[in-house]
Amino acid sequence: MLKLQNLSKTYSKGTVKAVDSVNLDIAPGEIFGFLGPNGAGKTTTIKMIVGLLKPDSGRVFINGIDVWKNPIEAKSQISYVPDSPEIYDKLKGIEYLNFIADMYEIPKHIRQVKMEKYLEIFNLKDAVGDIIGSYSHGMKQKLVLISALLHEPNLFILDEPMVGLDPKSSFQLKEIMRERCDEGKTVFFSTHVLEVAEKLCDRIAIINKGRIIALGTMDELRSHAEERESLEKIFLELTE
């Protein structure tokens, strides 16, 4: 579903390697966790996947489509939720949702069903008539989540999705991620919350200084590390 081939990106005229020959192959139906300390290259990698940052070298395939060669086809298969919800403050919630739905050309009857479902789940029904500028950080985050779910993307990409969500929404989001994978769709997300990754993910990659230093299921990761009890210990040991 998602394939990264030798993906690299340098900053400051080649002196800082943010992402260094990253290779990943993620199958349909997988929940994939992307872990790493601050500044390890998580967001840079994600931005290269969704088309926000052009890689210096390497390729990104979504369902076999090269993101940087056929951006429109590739982008219609994915949805992206960034780490901070910078969206149009002057639009009403509902206007934003309809705008996004128009961009994905979602038919009327489908968008109505989806909107009702997700607005209910994330408890945003009452606020959706207000302008986004009046929302709290968490409400904006939830609105971006809803907008990203409207077109039922094959690949759902989230950058630090749990930050700023209340416990209930956070729980709901985890449920939704699980459901999507049961339907054969793919979820790719970065996180700092090791517990979430441990419980939720089919596979995990740990990135440090731009390189993937560990990749596999929880069990496989355990077999690599000396301290084997928790992901926290593994993480700390590997990224030292």
Binding site: P82, M103, K125
Partner: protein
Amino acid sequence: MMKKIISLIKTDLNITYGLSALQYKFNNKKDRLQTILIAIALLSLIPTYIMIVSGLVKIYDAYIGIGQKNMFLLNGFIYAQLIVLLFGFLYVMSKYYFSNDLNVLVPLPLRPKDIVGAKFVTLMVNEYLTSLPIILPFIIIYGTRGKEGLLYWIYSFILMIFLPVIPLALASIIVMLFMKYTNIKGRKDLLRVIGYIILLIALIGFQFKIQSIAQQSLLEGENFFLEMAQDSNVLVRKLGLVFPPSLWAALSLGNYSSVGGVFNLLLFVGTSIAVFWIMIQLSEKLFFEGLIGGLEVATTGKHKKVKIEDLSRSSLPFLSIGLKEIKILLRTPVYLLNSVLGVVILPLIMVISTTMNGKEALGALSMLTEGNSHIVSLIGIGIITMFGVMNCVGCTTFSREGKSFWIQRVMPIKVKDQIFGRILSSLFVQIIGIIALLASLAFIINISLENVFWITILGLMGSVAMTELGMVIDIFRPLLDWDNPQKAMKQNLNVLIAMGIGALYLGGVGFLVYKLFKTGVNILAIYGIMGLIYIISSYGLYILLKNLIIRQFSILE
């Protein structure tokens, strides 16, 4: 405490004038260009300034002639303090209540008067930049022509230092009171728009006053200055009575060698300090009350019910982009003022200036247009086409996305839809401009249906080309990293660049049309040629834009 305030003032000055960023700025090519362009713009104002100053010399002589040379100084102080007051409202409003650092400053352990005091000092620097160019010529002319002594210059220096204090403190008090009593939730933006419009009208009125004075002086020659000196004596004296500080300043400088001079100087300085002190004391009570609540965007209290139909309102992608642009344009005051108000104000000025200048101007216009009503159409088309770039919609369309730009880039939007949608939002503003122009033309002269037809059709075609031109520039160097919409539109260099290139383009088309018109080419053929030029350039720009968008959308970081 004092240390804290000084640190606050230093930081505020640093941020406001970008002192720390200056070094970085000059190393950056883009910003260097900006600095140079601003310098050129300032230099271009010098000839006008010299003209005004040389006019002042004549006014000084006229006052000498009627033995009222103190009145000359009074003029200077009144104008300078009046301008400081007018700009003061604008500066105080944005500096005290709408600046970005408030979110940082308010939670710090500072008293309201510390914040207001520091901001006041920064504004003083701003006001010197405004007041010195006005008062200096008066003082220098008076001093050099009258061969005044050293004490005169010392007095002048002290007076200039204190000159902005009273008007700026008054502006602060008025704005703080205004903000306290109008701190109605959710009405902040509306009030701001109203405030701007009132100020704009005041400035335009002031501009016309000066213009008509200048025109009159050209007509009447030397005698004019004498007459004006005599006439304005009454007016200035009245103003002086309404605003005594200017009078004290003039009297102190006019009688610097006598006791009266010292007395008036002390009065001026003392009052300045007193008014400043009162303002600071009041700020303790007023400032936070006007501020709190102003920082947040208020909801309407009860939530608006969203109906089922709203959940399924779909439209074509390009329409949806256009509508989104229009909604944001209309709901962001800075955008509204620069786009829609921009295209309405010029036709309005046309009406005001012709009615103010009376029958002569109207007569001349009718004479010009009587013979050939097509001139009206051609000029109208030209104005509308120029609006196409002046409305700032095209040349800031990507910049306005700001930090939300990622939305446009991660979604599967066809480039064609991007372009059409954004042109649509510019045409929306253009249609308002066309209505305003046609209405004001109809008010001034007789216009025919034919005029309406050609101005509308060819005006819109020209607008498309102009909007695309702006978009080309904006996607080439979008200004995305802003935290205040003001930066995306008002302080965006792309607007200036687009206007420059747009003016060249329009100048070229205009020159061609003028030549064709003079050689007596059939008017329909001229319209045809214009239309063809617009279509060809629109298409060419469309192709260029398409490629640029694809390229920039992928390489921007």
